[in-house]
Symmetry: C2
Subunit: 370 residues, 2 copies
Amino acid sequence: MSNIQIAKARRLRSTPYTSRIEKQGLKAYTTYNHMLLPAAFEGSMEETYYHLKEHVQIWDVAAERQVEISGDDAFKLVQLMTCRDLSESKDGRCYYCPIVDDQAGLINDPIVLRFNENKWWLSIADSDVILFAKGLAIGKNFNVKIVEPTCDIMAIQGPKSFPLMEKIFGESITDLKFFGFDYFDFRDSKHLIARSGWSKQGGYEVYVEDTSSGLELYDHLFEIGKEFNVKPGCPHLIERIESALLSYGNDIDLKDNPLECGFDKYVNLDNDIEFLGKERLKQIKSEGINKKLMGVMINLDNINMSQSIELKDNKNNIIGEMRSAVFSPTFKKVIGIAMFKKPFWDVGLEFNINIGGISTKGTVCNIPFI
Amino acid sequence: MSNIQIAKARRLRSTPYTSRIEKQGLKAYTTYNHMLLPAAFEGSMEETYYHLKEHVQIWDVAAERQVEISGDDAFKLVQLMTCRDLSESKDGRCYYCPIVDDQAGLINDPIVLRFNENKWWLSIADSDVILFAKGLAIGKNFNVKIVEPTCDIMAIQGPKSFPLMEKIFGESITDLKFFGFDYFDFRDSKHLIARSGWSKQGGYEVYVEDTSSGLELYDHLFEIGKEFNVKPGCPHLIERIESALLSYGNDIDLKDNPLECGFDKYVNLDNDIEFLGKERLKQIKSEGINKKLMGVMINLDNINMSQSIELKDNKNNIIGEMRSAVFSPTFKKVIGIAMFKKPFWDVGLEFNINIGGISTKGTVCNIPFI
């Protein structure tokens, strides 16, 4: 932590859950999509990590904002923005989709929810995709409506999310497949619930459109979740790096293309769908990439990153940059995500790194770590 | 202040000045354009306010990011995005320009710098204008290049900014007119300097492209500024509200149009320039606006806002929302910026407001306050 406070204002929007989480031991915020996103609760990083892996947590992830694209040209616009082939996509399913510009630079990596061919939500990472979509739609004269709906997601994450949610919504919720979504009743309100989330520990995301019902559900989850040792939580740095859940703005950004980030299976160049950057991506694929995202391991027992750290070879040449890192209790080492220049991304390659004045060595490895 | 820490990460970019300001008594950050923006230094709000009004402060405002638009269609694209007529704009001048979408919703309110007809910088408020510009340019097939250049602004603000800057750059810098910009030498480097800034106390903004020279200049300003009582600072809530320097995301947003925000003189509907939302703005102008941004004064000696507060009439109907507010030592009252529904925006109109459980009354007034 930085020991520096966050100055709140309307511009960094609060969420419906803000007053609750601040009473539940919140210690730090980050901001995300112009909104407050909890970043740490009481307890050490390791304690909250093991809790997430063993029990169940309720997360205020309202900062995952939705871009709703509807209308006759909705499918055309959504497909234009992503290099993932959505021609076979199905209603009621979620799709992880890199959004790229005409130069194949990554603009965002949302989960795309398909309601039907004419209504889509992009559940976005931290950049104003709504402005890109609006600009494209205006420029192309598409018949679409683009809005940010009132929707404040709460996530239920961890292995005990399944019995907890079953207790509220009945057995039918356990039938939901990974990345499926449907509507489920809570008291007098219907909630869109997806089997998804920013952890690899399993769980659900409730897309709360009816705020007052959502707050009742939030409180109810804590009341009846006691037997499952429920706690408030938030996306967890250790868990997400071990699982290599990439974070837009941290690990990947506009200067990277999806082939450099290991998104090859979401880059569909072999049929006639139309999307931005397609020719550029074909060219990159045929010429080969010039940098590549990899894992790193470093023999250190602590790190606190706030910006990229250069990685060097023995001749002091920069061969890459580490973008995220954390001490992993599983590996008893610092693990991180780093972008390496060609040809320095071979697994096992050793590099030099200086962290807070300490010079040490690290090695390249594959991701995910677990 | 919130007493809640900010969690730093690469995604909330540090600036070249970050390590310096953290040694200079920084107490709080906000985030802005995915970057850290200092929000408070040591000393009370009133102390730093009077210091800014009497002396000179150096501000890390690198979070004012630039969107560079260059190429044959650069002027066409910039004009398409703003309702302000730029047909008579001149090289080397800054223009405050509301950016609006096709529905006349406000996307940003940058200072636009015209280098020449084929090169412009948009010095943006807090939204990803680069994505809107890219979307439009791709959709319209414009011949432009759109990038975020390496440029980290430091501002020199306050009445003594003039003698301080003259001491470094010589008399020629005092010839710079308000909203003019030019290049000035510091040691072996040229810096773009504009007479502008996020205060009404006068001063300059140095658009630092040569980072190492900029850091030398930063240190030099503190060394030779001692005689002017120079201190580190940041955009100041009291000063900006008194001066009604509107803040995008706080006072105005995508759901507002420029006529509701008092930007009438920047809405040029009477000639044949082409920009987004023009027909919609003509319609709004002929039908009249349905809400209006005004000042408010409230007899209280303290306020700490983090979201909109409802304003009500005596029948408990919501008649508006206050979006920013602060205790003003000048007026010995809380002053704020509020959006009122029609027809409740008359100066002198009284309303009810509940702030932290305290019910009180306030009145509508004009802005700026000073």
